[in-house]
Symmetry: C2
Subunit: 484 residues, 2 copies
C-alpha cells in the first residue's frame, strides 16, 4: 500500500507547534471522565466542573432577552406580528434588514460587515472615548480570533533580511502563541510583573525587545488581562505607547474584556493615544472587541470587530483582499454586535429587562471576583492578585519539591500535574499556567469564576480540600524521600 | 513625522498578490454607480443588476420557512410556546439545544461542531453515497472558504527542498487562487476543455503536472463547475482519481453545488472512489459542502462542512490544533447545516411547505439555465456550454480586434473592457473571465442566472442589445482604423 499523501513529516510543521491549552490534554481528560461517569464509573465526585474556558453561557449565564429577540425576528421576520415582541426589537430588526441585500440575513454582507452595524460600532467607540471613530475603520469578523489572525497576517514579511517577530505578554492568552506559531511569526515574550498587580513595566518591554533575535514589528497588549485579570493604569498605558513609538511598533490592543470590569476604570489605547497628542495620536493601532465577552457573552455567535486606526491605505488594500476571499462574517453574528454596541435606550420597551439582566451579570462578576481572590489568598502557598477585570482568576501556587519530583517522573510540568490531580480527585477542570506562560519556577492555573453561586462555592471548597491534601501528600513524600 | 509601521513594501507581500474578481474593480464601479444614481445622476438605466456573486437571497430567493423557524426558536426558545411554530421545528430545535452546553446557542460548540449536527451530516452523506460516513470525519466551518483554506494550509511545507504546489482548474473559482496566493502555495493550473463541455481530460492533468516547477501535493476539482457549470461524468471522475493515485495527490473536491443540478446526475468523489475499490478506495479525500449553496442558499449564515476521509491521525492533530484556536463556527450557522442535511421528512408538519419551496427553487434554476444557454448561443460570436449545474453561465465571447485594441489603450484586459462597457451602458454587473482564468486569446464572463423572471429577461435583453451595439462600434472602428 502507498504512503499517505499527508504525513506527520510532510504536513505543515508550523501547525504541529500549536499549543492551545484552553482545549488541551487536561480538557480532553475531563471529557473522557464525563464519558466514564455516563457509563457508570465510580468517581469521588458526581460531575466535572469545567472552569477551563471563558464561556459564560456554558457556566449558566442566561442570554439577554433583547439580543435573542433581535436574532429571532431577524431570522424570521414573520415574527414581527407576534405581540410578545417589543417595538424596539422590531425597529432594530427593521433597521438592520433595511441594510441587508433584499432584506435577508441570508445574503452576504460586505466583507467588512453591514454598514449600519459598523456605523453603530463607530458611535459606540465615539461615546466611549470622546474621540470621533469612523465606520470606515471598523471591520467585523468571526470572533476576535479571526480578526487577530487577520491583522497578525499583515506582519508575515521579513524586514531587512530578518524574520518578523511580535511581542506578547507572559502570561498570555494562547490564541496569540498559537496564531504566531501557525503564521511562522517569532514570539518575543515580555513578562508581566505579578508583584505589582500584573503591571507592564517599560523596562521589561525594553529588555525583551533588545534580546529579540528578529525584526520586532508589533506589540500585543491584553487589557484587561487574560489570564491575569488586571486592568492597566492610565500611566502604564502611556508608558507602553511611548515605548511602542520609540521602537516603531504597531500596537495590537486586545481589549475584549473592556466591559467585564470589577473595579478600576478601563482606559482604551485609542483614547490614551489621542489624549497624549502628537506624535502618539498619529500612531497606528488595532483594537479588538468581541460579543463573546462583555455582558452579552454570546460566544456561539462568533462575532467581533476591530478598529484599524491610521493604517496606510495600501496596507488596507491587502487586508481587504484577504477579507474579501472569506466573503463576510455571519450576518446574525453581526446582529449581536449591533445589540452590544447599541443596547436598549432608557425609556425604550426593552430597557427595564435589559438593565436588570445587565445588573445581574455585573453583580455576579463582582461577587465571584471578590470571593475567588479571598479564597485563594487564604490557602497556604497561594497568591492571587486582586481581580480587576476579565472573568478569570490566575492564582500562583507554591508546589512542594515532592510534587515537582512526582510530576517529573510522569513527564508532566508541575502545574500540569497539580491540575490533573485536581481534576481526577475533584472533577474541577482548570488550565495549568504553563499553557499561558509564567516565570520559570513559578506555577499557576487559570480558572473561570462565573459559575452559579452554589457550584462556585463547591468548586472553591473542592480546591481548598484538595490543596490541603495535596500539600500533605507531597510535603510528606518529600520528607519520606529525603529519609531514604 | 515617522514612517508608518506597516507600509506597502513591508506588509505581507503575499496578500498584495490576492485577486478576487468576484468582488473586484468592476463590482466596486457598480457600487459607485449605485451611489451616483442615488444622488440623481442620469444613466441609461434605472438601476444596477448585480450578477457578479452566487448569492441567491440577494437575487430575490425567499428563505425556506423551516430553516428560518428553526433559527428563530433556537435563538429564542421562549418561542416554543408560539402556536405558529410547527411541532417538527420545535423538536428539531430541542434536539440541537440538547447538544449545546447549557442548552444555549451562545455557548461555544466543540471546534469541529456540535455532535448532533455532525451525526446528521454523516447520515446525509451515507444516504447520498450508500457508503458509511462517520461523524468523526466531519468538520463544520464558517463557510467553505474557511474550510478550504484550513485544508490547504496543511500543504504549506516544502517537500524534498521543493516548494509545495496545488493543481487548480482554469477557469476556477478565485477563492482558490486567492487562498493559494495568501498561503504562498504555487498554483499549478490545468485547463478544462470548453469544446467537450468543460470536461477534465487526464492528458491535460498530466501536461500540467509534468510542467510544474514545484512539488505538486494536491489536486483541486470543482464539481459542479464554478464558473463553468458542468457536471463531471462518472467516467471522467474515475480518470481523475486514477491520475491522482498515480501521482500521489490529495484530492480536494469542491462539491458545493451538488444540490444545484439542472440535468445530469451528480457523482461524489467519495462514492466513485469507494466503488472503484482498492487501491482507490483507500485514498485521502477532502470534500466540501456549504449551506450558502444548495437549495437553502443561506450565504449570510457562514456555514459549511468538510468530510476528511482517511487522513492520517497525526495530520488530524495538526488540523485540530489550528481549528481549536479559532474556537468554533457560528452555532446558528450549524443549525442551518442541520436543516440542510436533514430537511423536513414526508408527513411532518413542515414538509408540504418545504417541498413546495424546494420545487420552486429547482424550477427557477432549470428555467434560467435553459434560457441563458439559449440566449447566449443565439448571439453572434457567443458560445455557451449547456449549464448542467451550479448557478452560473460562463459564455465565451469573440471580441473584434478593434475592441481588443481599445481595451489595450485603456490598460484593460479585453473581457474586462467588455464587462465594464456593459456595466456603464446597461447597469448589468458581471465578472470578466480573466478573474477566473481562461485560455489565452479567449474571452468570457460569468453571470449569475437566478434573478427574478422579469429582471432576468431584462438582463438578457440588455446584454443582447449591448452586444450588437458593441460589435457595431468595434467592428466599425476596426474598419475605420484600417482605413486610416
Amino acid at each position: 500500500m502507498k504512503q499517505k499523501c499527508l504525513t506527520e513529516s510532510n504536513v505543515n510543521q508550523k501547525l504541529l507547534n500549536i499549543q492551545y491549552a484552553v482545549r488541551g490534554p487536561i480538557v480532553a481528560r475531563a471529557a473522557q471522565i464525563e464519558r466514564e461517569i455516563q457509563k457508570g464509573a465510580e468517581k469521588p465526585f458526581s460531575r466535572v466542573i469545567r472552569a477551563n474556558i471563558g464561556d459564560c453561557h456554558a457556566l449558566g449565564q442566561k442570554p439577554f432577552t433583547f439580543v435573542r429577540q433581535v436574532l429571532a425576528v431577524a431570522a424570521c421576520p414573520a415574527l414581527m406580528s407576534c405581540p410578545d415582541i417589543p417595538d424596539d426589537v422590531k425597529e432594530r430588526v427593521k433597521e438592520i434588514l433595511d441594510d441587508c441585500t433584499q432584506g435577508s440575513v441570508g445574503a452576504y454582507s460586505p466583507p467588512a460587515g453591514l454598514t449600519i452595524v459598523r456605523r453603530h460600532v463607530a458611535q459606540y467607540l465615539t461615546a466611549r472615548d470622546g474621540v470621533p471613530a469612523s465606520p470606515e475603520d471598523i471591520y467585523l469578523g468571526a470572533g476576535a480570533s479571526d480578526l487577530i489572525k487577520a491583522v497578525l497576517t499583515l506582519f508575515v514579511q521579513d524586514v531587512g533580511g530578518r524574520a518578523p517577530g511580535v511581542m506578547i505578554p507572559i502570561p498570555q492568552y494562547p490564541l496569540f502563541s498559537g496564531t504566531l506559531s501557525e503564521l511562522g511569526l517569532t514570539q518575543v515574550p515580555y513578562y508581566l510583573d505579578e508583584e505589582s498587580g500584573w503591571a507592564l513595566p517599560p523596562s521589561e518591554l525594553q529588555r525583551a525587545w533588545s534580546h529579540a533575535d528578529c525584526s520586532v514589528r508589533a506589540l500585543v497588549v491584553i487589557n484587561p488581562g487574560n489570564p491575569t485579570g488586571q486592568v492597566l493604569s492610565r500611566d502604564n498605558i502611556e508608558e507602553i505607547v511611548r515605548f511602542a513609538y520609540e521602537r516603531n511598533l504597531f500596537i495590537l490592543a486586545d481589549e475584549v474584556y473592556q466591559e467585564n470590569i470589577v473595579s478600576k476604570e478601563f482606559h482604551s489605547f485609542k483614547k490614551a493615544m489621542h489624549e497624549m497628542g502628537a506624535p502618539y495620536s498619529a500612531m497606528e493601532l488595532a483594537s479588538f472587541v468581541t460579543s463573546s465577552k462583555g455582558w452579552a457573552a454570546e460566544c456561539g455567535a462568533r462575532a467581533a470587530f476591530v478598529e484599524l486606526c491610521r493604517v496606510a491605505p495600501r496596507v488596507l488594500v491587502a487586508f481587504n483582499a484577504a477579507r474579501a476571499v472569506a466573503q463576510c462574517p455571519s450576518v446574525l453574528g453581526q446582529c449581536v454586535i449591533d445589540c452590544v454596541v447599541k443596547p436598549p435606550a432608557p425609556g425604550s420597551p426593552s430597557y427595564t429587562t435589559w438593565s436588570r439582566e445587565r445588573r445581574d451579570v455585573r453583580r455576579v462578576l463582582q461577587q465571584r471576583a471578590a470571593a475567588a481572590t479571598r479564597a485563594f489568598n487564604s490557602l497556604p502557598g497561594y497568591f492571587c492578585n486582586v481581580i480587576e477585570g476579565s472573568m478569570f482568576a490566575f492564582p500562583r501556587v507554591d508546589l512542594p519539591a515532592g510534587a515537582v519530583r512526582a510530576a517529573a517522573e510522569r513527564g508532566l510540568a508541575p502545574d500540569e500535574f497539580y491540575c490533573l490531580q485536581l481534576l481526577e480527585e475533584t472533577g474541577v477542570c482548570v488550565v495549568p499556567g504553563s499553557g499561558f506562560g509564567q516565570r520559570a519556577g513559578s506555577f499557576h492555573f487559570r480558572t473561570t469564576i462565573l459559575h452559579p453561586a452554589s457550584e462556585f462555592a463547591h468548586m472553591l471548597a473542592a480546591i481548598t480540600n484538595f490543596h490541603h491534601q495535596f500539600l500533605k501528600t507531597y510535603s510528606l513524600s518529600c520528607l519520606t524521600d529525603d529519609d531514604d
